[in-house]
Symmetry: C2
Subunit: 322 residues, 2 copies
């Protein structure tokens, strides 16, 4: 996809994309659907699965925050604190590190008051709180819960393979921005994970259904003000969507002309600004009509600081049908 200025193509983002049906069969692609890459935070529904399995009564807002890359608003922090307390943990147990909250208003408020951000503000703090509760409920030590060899992380790697329909050897490991393992797998396998959220089946069906419900019922908790997951999910019936760093995106669609589908894509260069444009283009290509509210999430024109129109966005998504 291309960002233009005047009549000239200024910057170009390459896209790799895979679409699978409810049986996990590849039905369409763009670029290389076998590209092995990191879903990053798009893995959070998988990382929350051991929690969903161990805590069938967990309130859905707490399950949602465990799947979130949140913006650090008070509403997000409250949900994280509640989840944290369930395992008898405190902020001091979180191993995610600290960054200023994603939400600009909250970030400015911290600067104004002279308050420092804490690990609670880290966009992954809900995931970490969920992991701590997972450990307690499964009888694993909380100590070292972020390490590659910890039973929770070993289990999460297995779940990536199981839900992605690939061998354990096909799941490569790195370390994420929040210090837990990040797993890389082929795009088609990541799409299968999201198809599994759209139409849960097998031994994890009930837990996956609760994760789908939690994320779609609490889109604000999953991300935050103005962020794509939060704004897009309520506009598309039966859509579960989760952003990952470096411009990864996963979507599970319950209702399409082709039945439930799973979609995963990666902007080659990690260019986050391309994500919303590509997400809408693939939804449209899959038969989801784009409403004006949806189109407003990916404006086709670019304006400068003085409000003048200076360019546009041209989406080229040459889907190849399998």
């Amino acid at each position: 996809m291309v960002f233009t200025r005047g009549g000239v193509d200024e910057s170009i983002h390459g896209v790799h994309l895979a679409v699978v049906d409810a049986d996990g069969k590849l039905i369409a692609s763009c670029g290389d659907p076998d590209l092995v890459t990191f879903p990053r935070s798009s893995s959070k529904p998988v990382q929350a699965l051991p929690l969903a399995l161990a805590a069938p009564e967990l309130p859905s807002d707490e399950l949602a925050i465990a799947c979130a890359s949140h913006a650090g608003t008070p509403e997000h922090l409250t949900a994280v604190m509640r989840l944290l307390e369930r395992s008898g943990s405190t902020v001091a147990d979180l191993r995610c590190g600290t960054h200023p909250p994603f939400d600009a208003v909250v970030a400015a408020e911290l600067i104004r008051t002279g308050e420092r951000p804490t690990p609670l503000h880290h966009n992954c703090s809900g995931k970490h709180a969920g992991m701590l509760l997972s450990c307690v409920l499964n009888g694993w030590p909380k100590e070292g819960y972020t390490e590659h060899g910890h039973p929770l992380q070993v289990r999460i790697r297995e779940l990536h393979a199981e839900l992605g329909g690939v061998s354990l050897e096909a799941v490569e490991a790195g370390t994420d921005g929040c210090s837990v393992p990040a797993f890389a797998l082929p795009l088609g396998a990541a799409a299968r994970i999201f198809a599994g959220l759209a139409r849960p089946s097998g031994e994890y069906a009930e837990a996956l259904e609760r994760i789908f419900g939690a994320m779609t019922e609490h889109p604000f908790l999953v991300a935050g003000p103005g962020r794509l997951d939060t704004t897009l999910m309520p506009l598309v019936p039966g859509l579960v969507a989760k952003m990952g760093a470096e411009a990864f995106y996963g979507m599970g669609l319950r209702e399409t002309p082709r039945g439930p589908l799973g979609i995963a894509f990666k902007i080659m260069d990690g260019g986050e600004r391309a994500r919303a444009h590509v997400a809408l283009a693939v939804l449209e290509a899959l038969g989801i009509p784009l409403t004006p509210e949806m189109q407003a999430l990916a404006p086709a024109t670019l304006h400068n600081w003085a409000g003048r129109e200076v360019g546009g966005v041209r989406v080229e998504l040459p889907l190849v049908w399998a």
Copy 2:
């Protein structure tokens, strides 16, 4: 160039690059040296040339701020104000628009004090102040100085063609983030502009020499704390360098084994994080030894929020020698 995580390539940035010698002859390239693209703020030395020609006695710090994409520190604002006063102008005459200062410390200070950013904080305010003085000294109206048809902008377009060694028709026009025309030209032509700064000749030689002197004597004014132009220029004898938005970079090198050279490159996707890595790789390929201080500007390893090493950067710059 590739950003890796664990052992996996995570994100990839494509590069187009041109290197020309002092005669403007292409001597090396990567990707497409004929790519027509916008230098954006890398055009500022050309945009300041009418000012340098009309104001031979202008202090070098004011000429430097006219060439700057500055960070909005008090030192930058003072220089802009002085330049603005020379044309009897005020902040109200600036047509650049307003954005929060690039410098995080200054931006936070504004938030703390509740002060709003003004057009002075816009990274291009020095260029605009210079343009206003250009108008007064050349007898052109200040009114409408940002418009494509204004005599100043017409002249700047001609200068792009002249210094780039291309026809006027080869210079395409868009509008920049600060509302003045942005001109697009082939990468090789942009490299010629920087070769002309490294070894000025012809009718503009004296003014180009003063621009070179101003930028290299005041690297802080040209950008700001931690920004590449500011940090790199003092480390490489005879280097003039200027960043442009969407990951453009122009460098003029006075002293290399091949004599004075001009370099221009564009990260295809506009990925700013790749710029320093590519700049160092091309300097090394052109025979400039990389010191530890230079290498520190483009770290080969990536760390996460908790300070853990999570990945690296692999620079692939397959230079083709002409």
